[in-house]
């Protein structure tokens, strides 16, 4: 059993605060970075990081060491917090179904998103934050945490093909948004 697993056991069995501190310290920057890239706001990222670790501590009793790695489980908690936050902000009587052309099978997708520039990330988030919760989870884990499709499928308990279809649908929506913006600027 490694040190991380010992911390988790101590929290689960004895609500050990020192172990909780150690565990959070080990992941704080990683989670903060993951969240910051999706909010681009330092204060908000700090708040959501707090929420993420708070949820983690409150639900760690049910975390099963044998099922998923702690890191993966933590990413799921963080993604849920992000989705919740944006849903509460953006949720309107908006379309709940994606247009039919978005449900194409995944094919060659030459459009890529780089996370190098702030304005590009901002534009990506404009699209992502408005999508359905499941699509957001898939897209965030893939793009911002660099998770392989198979792991996302296991984590969210959905078929691999669904994960891919959904990811590429979001990617197409982002591309369309970029194209529309360019057209507006061009005209």
């Amino acid at each position: 059993m490694n040190e991380e697993q010992r911390w988790i056991r101590r929290i689960q069995r004895r609500s050990d605060r020192a172990a909780a501190g150690e565990l959070i310290a080990a992941y704080y920057n990683e989670m903060y970075g993951f969240i910051y890239k999706q909010t681009l706001n330092a204060e908000l990222a700090k708040d959501l990081t707090q929420d993420t670790f708070g949820s983690m501590l409150q639900t760690i009793a049910s975390y099963d060491l044998g099922k998923a790695s702690f890191r993966t489980w933590l990413y799921r908690v963080a993604t849920n917090r992000l989705v919740d936050y944006y849903r509460s902000r953006y949720y309107r009587a908006q379309k709940l179904h994606e247009p039919i052309e978005e449900l194409e099978l995944p094919g060659e997708e030459d459009f890529t998103i780089s996370l190098t520039y702030r304005d590009e990330v901002e534009r990506v988030l404009e699209v992502v934050n408005r999508r359905a919760a499941r699509s957001q989870q898939i897209f965030r884990l893939r793009l911002f945490a660099d998770y392989p499709f198979q792991e996302i499928a296991d984590l969210l308990d959905v078929p691999l093909s669904t994960v891919k279809t959904d990811y590429y649908a979001t990617l197409r929506a982002v591309r369309r948004y970029f194209e529309e913006e360019e057209n507006q600027h061009g005209s």
Binding site: S15, I24, Y28, Y36, F53, S55, L57, T59, V121
Partner: protein, 253 residues
């Protein structure tokens, strides 16, 4: 056009430390002992709200009296010396009142519409049940003690200390088993079978090998009873604590 590169402004070590402290102190309030937790719940909920349905309690008490009377009739036909018989009787029936009430409470609770509502309140139905059982455990010990007093008054050769230890040991054994059962099975039938089984096993043991059974109860050293009770109380506390944390698991996102 100059474009801003995406750089994550990681907070410095001091900020991270204070953030971690805030998270831990907010999400993990200092752990309370079982007794302190029960005392706080009792203060916040109040005895009056803990036991609302007195008719139910009266009904249960009457049922218990009938069961005890039936057991008494069975034992009185025995040939063993009265004092030995008394220990057996005390052992068999001491926990009955406590557990019958607990069973009826739970059986009724699941069927009521308030079950779902209580599940979202500050304390869950399981936590309240744990509190009720603790209160009843205390009441049952008090009632048993009074019962011993009456028995000794009627039968001076009875040993007060031993009598008390017998009833308390029986109560903890029975209670621990019942709570363990409750964690794994929510069926009403199982609980009734457990109570019925307890009485039946005791009666059968007694009828089957009266001398052995009475000898075990009568000759076990006081120290043995003390260890038994300590183990039983520990088991019951563990089971009740598990009941308190049940909602955390169910509330998993």
């Amino acid at each position: 056009m100059d474009r801003d590169k995406l750089v994550v402004p990681y907070p410095d070590a001091d900020v991270v430390r204070s953030e971690i402290e805030a998270i831990v102190s907010r999400s993990m309030p200092p752990r309370q002992t079982f007794i302190a937790y029960m005392a706080r719940m009792l203060r916040e909920v109040g005895l009056r709200h803990l036991f609302r349905d007195w008719t139910e309690l009266v009904y249960v008490s009457l049922t218990t009296i009938v069961i005890v009377a039936l057991m008494l009739t069975a034992y009185l036909s025995s040939t063993a010396p009265e004092s030995s018989m008394m220990y057996v009787l005390l052992f068999s029936v001491s926990p009955v009142l406590y557990l019958t009430i607990a069973i009826i409470f739970f059986a009724g609770k699941r069927d009521q519409d308030t079950y779902e509502l209580e599940m979202v309140c500050k304390y869950t139905v399981y936590q309240l049940a744990a509190l009720r059982m603790t209160v009843f455990g205390a009441v049952a010990v008090a009632v048993n003690t009074a019962m011993i007093g009456v028995c000794v008054w009627m039968m001076p050769e009875l040993d007060v200390v031993k009598g008390w230890l017998v009833t308390t040991a029986s109560l903890t054994l029975f209670g621990g088993g019942f709570l363990a059962l409750m964690r794994y099975s929510s069926s009403k039938g199982m609980r009734l079978v457990y109570v019925g089984g307890w009485l039946a096993v005791n009666l059968t043991l007694y009828v089957w090998h009266e001398l052995f059974y009475t000898a075990v109860l009568e000759r076990m050293p006081l120290f043995g009873y003390a260890i038994w009770i300590a183990a039983g109380v520990y088991g019951m506390t563990r089971a009740l604590s598990a009941l308190i944390t049940i909602h955390h698991k169910e509330g998993y996102i």
